[in-house]
Symmetry: C2
Subunit: 322 residues, 2 copies
């Protein structure tokens, strides 16, 4: 088995057009190929405010499948440690033998999660979207905005956070990194002034209200990955002209749709992101529609990014050895 | 993260009184402590006759929890590879950080599985049991019999297998290793002549019939770990005076009990092995009872054996470094 460290992975794998395409292809696979994607395994450790997810997917025809362990332990900051951790393993699809271990500490999850946000915006946001609002100031608040710059020409970002120091740091980071103007605003302004809004919080009470939505807006909610989490008021889903999720089966349990007043109705209306990426269904049909995408995170994304990373890192290693 | 190879693990971790006690304590924990044990994650790859299980359990109070990946790819023999593979990972219960990786290729699973058989026999077989029958000639057919020698004074083993060469090899191996006489017999004889019978097959049709059962026999079925597998005729469960399983929740889906003519009735009658090990319920009450134990394999066993192995191997490594 080959091991790769976070440092090696960060050096060679970036959030860019390639990784966004890798994730787009993962959703195409999900819609068009035989995919074995078991329900997420979840281990909760409430004593330490910790939660662990295990995800996996086998896509028929791929040489390897990934099993990913990712965790959030929300008391870690008291110990001076990051809350998120994780690793990805690749196994040979023909023999079951372990092939590679990517000790990425959650970095590849960040990339594939942000890439899914870009894929959603690519198919759902207005072509002329120039402004993005982001709720939250953490790492996904950064990655999601960066990912959007690969699919739309952003000119201005509106950010809402709870802590001033985090907001200031966010503004400095994003302005320096992406060269776009960032402005601190209220949640309502972040929605009213933006063409695209991304929620990136672990909120258990909605952070976005339906009466803030404007004509033509696109909303991606990516923070909710547990039963108790909710970022969008249930009415936001009802107001959506186009409602998209990553996997319906998961949305029954996680994310925004299962908080809907009528879950059955919302699930019936929702289409999966793979249907859009595979070209079976058109996402946005006109400039006035309100579009909403609820992302809960899927094993096909993990298998796709792990396989991509492994292939590239193996090449780099072979190249370095020559 | 510290890695341990199969070689290191095999050198120091053995099937013995210690590892049997570790697994017995795991079942005590399951019965008496707060345990978070999610349903098994399963990935099937029928194209290559492969199946992958992911198991985990967090036991409140333990410093680490394990996540185990184990696989069986049943075309591997054509490639000259063993069908079974696997590894165990230990994570810090307080922070979620990966602590150790045990690259055991399924060895620790073999140990903890056989140890559970010994624990079952300890509480369910007659004290004066001297003969054991085993159906199957693979690695668990070996480990299960070896495990039994730690809890009962076996004098004779009866083995049934389908291939003569495997039977002969089994007889040679076990006689040399354990110093007990081993005799090749039919399935019926293996049951009729034994005080303890263990089934260790991936059978999808029952290999043991109820009308072969004798007064005072104990039967452990450990081979069935998938919906489609079944080793005991449904009537065997009905004939049992004492019916035990490792985890009822799993037995609804896997193992023998879910093949019962009335699953609800059998589940109501069954007691969990942990109830016996914790001393809450007496297993066998007299020398005439027929006892049956259905083992499907649990995450608490994996966490227990991984934690034991890690602790011991770390000590050995520290000792070697001094």
């Amino acid at each position: 088995m080959i091991l790769f460290t976070e440092e090696e992975i960060r050096k060679h794998i970036r959030l860019n057009a390639d990784t966004i395409q890798v994730v787009e292809e993962a959703f195409i696979n999900l819609a068009t190929k035989r995919v074995e994607m078991p329900p997420i395994m979840r281990i909760d450790i409430p004593l330490y405010n910790g939660e662990v997810d295990v995800k996996s997917a086998y896509v028929e025809g791929l040489d390897y499948f990934a099993i990913k362990v990712s965790s959030g332990f929300f008391n870690n900051h008291k110990l001076g440690l990051p809350s998120g951790n994780g690793l990805m393993m690749l196994f040979n699809s023909k023999t079951g033998q372990p092939e590679a271990m990517l000790l990425d500490n959650g970095y590849l999850t960040d990339i594939r999660t942000a890439a899914a946000g870009a894929v959603a915006a690519k198919h759902l946001a207005r072509e002329d979207a120039r402004t993005a609002g982001v709720i939250g100031t953490g790492s996904q608040a950064r990655y999601q905005i960066e990912a959007l710059t690969h699919v739309r020409d952003l000119e201005r970002v509106f950010v809402y956070g709870r802590k001033e120091e985090n907001i200031l740091k966010y503004i400095n980071d994003i302005e320096a990194r992406l060269g776009v103007k960032v402005e601190a605003v209220s949640r309502e302004e972040a929605v009213r002034r933006s063409d695209i809004v991304v929620t990136t919080t672990p909120a258990t009470c909605p952070v976005i209200r339906a009466d803030w939505l404007t004509s033509g807006i696109h909303v991606t909610a990516m923070g909710s990955d547990a039963e108790t989490k909710q970022e969008l008021e249930a009415e936001v889903l009802e107001r959506a002209d186009v409602l998209v999720c990553d996997v319906k089966e998961q949305s029954r349990r996680l994310g925004e749709i299962h908080h809907a007043r009528s879950q059955a109705e919302m699930l019936a209306r929702a289409v999966e992101l793979g249907e859009l990426t595979a070209g079976r269904i058109k996402g946005r049909k006109n400039a006035e529609q309100i579009t909403v995408c609820d992302l809960t995170g899927t094993g096909v994304q993990d298998t796709a990014i792990a396989l991509y990373a492994y292939t590239l890192l193996k090449e780099k290693k072979a190249g370095a050895a020559v």
